[in-house]
């Protein structure tokens, strides 16, 4: 499996359905010049991007197999883990909480309802600002919850 790394995905998301030149890709992604250039070249070699003059576009002829490799569950999972790890490792302005919380069933329901509210708030915020905030200035947000025992068993089994 190769999938896409979070860096490669950032470039693809910047380009999206548009045709962008190198400076636009670099400005929107916020990647260093050589990193941006190397990733663009790698994506072209893999057939995911193509060039039209000085513009970069997502190829329209990506095979279903390649599509699965790029957008499949495993690829998305690995990419999420990459970014979550980066958030945990962040040195400055780090916002990360991890706790084992004792919760009765009533509080659990309240918490799930709050998560649902949070999700709709984030969705609205994204719709409102997506045209004005470039990809490099967006925030990575994640949350999750699991039962300690189930998770421990999963760790032992290794799945």
């Amino acid at each position: 499996m190769r999938g896409l790394s979070s860096l490669e995905r950032v470039i693809l998301e910047c380009i999206g359905k548009q045709a962008l030149n190198y400076d636009d890709v670099q400005n929107q992604s916020g990647l260093q010049e050589n990193v941006c250039f190397n990733i663009l070249q790698a994506l072209i070699i893999r057939g995911i991007l193509k060039t039209e003059g000085s513009l970069y576009k997502v190829s329209e002829t990506i095979s279903p197999l390649m599509m699965e490799e790029i957008n499949g569950y495993e690829a998305r999972k690995a990419e999420s883990l990459e970014l979550i790890e980066a958030v945990v490792d962040q040195n400055s302005e780090r916002i990360f909480k991890f706790s084992k919380i004792a919760m009765d069933s009533r509080d659990e329901k309240i918490f799930i309802a709050m998560l649902s509210n949070l999700e709709s708030f984030l969705k609205d915020a994204h719709v409102k600002a997506q045209s004005s905030v470039p990809l490099k200035d967006r925030k990575v947000v994640f949350w999750g919850m699991g039962d300690v025992q189930k998770l421990m068993n999963q760790v032992i089994v290794g799945k």
């Binding site: 790394s5 050589n34 070249q41 690995a78 290794g158």
Partner: protein
């Protein structure tokens, strides 16, 4: 890819900016010979060993490397195929991301010049 090409490519990953003169000094192989080897002349066993020795010495400078080697051997015998695949994917991603941050290196050294 031949063993010779693989070795030269690995060498270049560890020492990407070295001139032929520096390669010669490090490996003990004559500079004109290094130039020929980088242009595809077949290597002698002793020359291959010289490159391998430099690479292994460089690797040995990092104390975590022997830990990594040890744990990979243990993982190969203990973990399931899926778990090993996950670790391999993780390492592959880390390596790919690191490569992106390096200056672009030509895979074949067709434009090396004598320093």
């Amino acid at each position: 890819m031949t063993l010779q090409n693989k070795t030269i490519q690995r060498y270049r990953l560890f020492f990407p900016q070295e001139t032929l003169r520096e390669v010669s000094a490090r490996t003990g192989i004559q500079i004109t010979r290094v130039f020929r080897l980088f242009n595809g002349k077949p290597m002698k066993v002793g020359e291959l060993e010289a490159f391998e020795k430099v690479i292994n010495d460089k690797i040995a400078e990092n104390p975590s490397f022997s830990r990594l080697n040890h744990i990979i051997e243990e993982a190969a015998s203990l973990l399931t195929n899926d778990e090993i695949a996950k670790i391999a994917d993780y390492l592959e991603r880390r390596v790919t991301n690191k490569k992106y941050s390096r200056t672009y290196i030509r895979p074949l050294f067709d434009d090396v010049s004598i320093a």
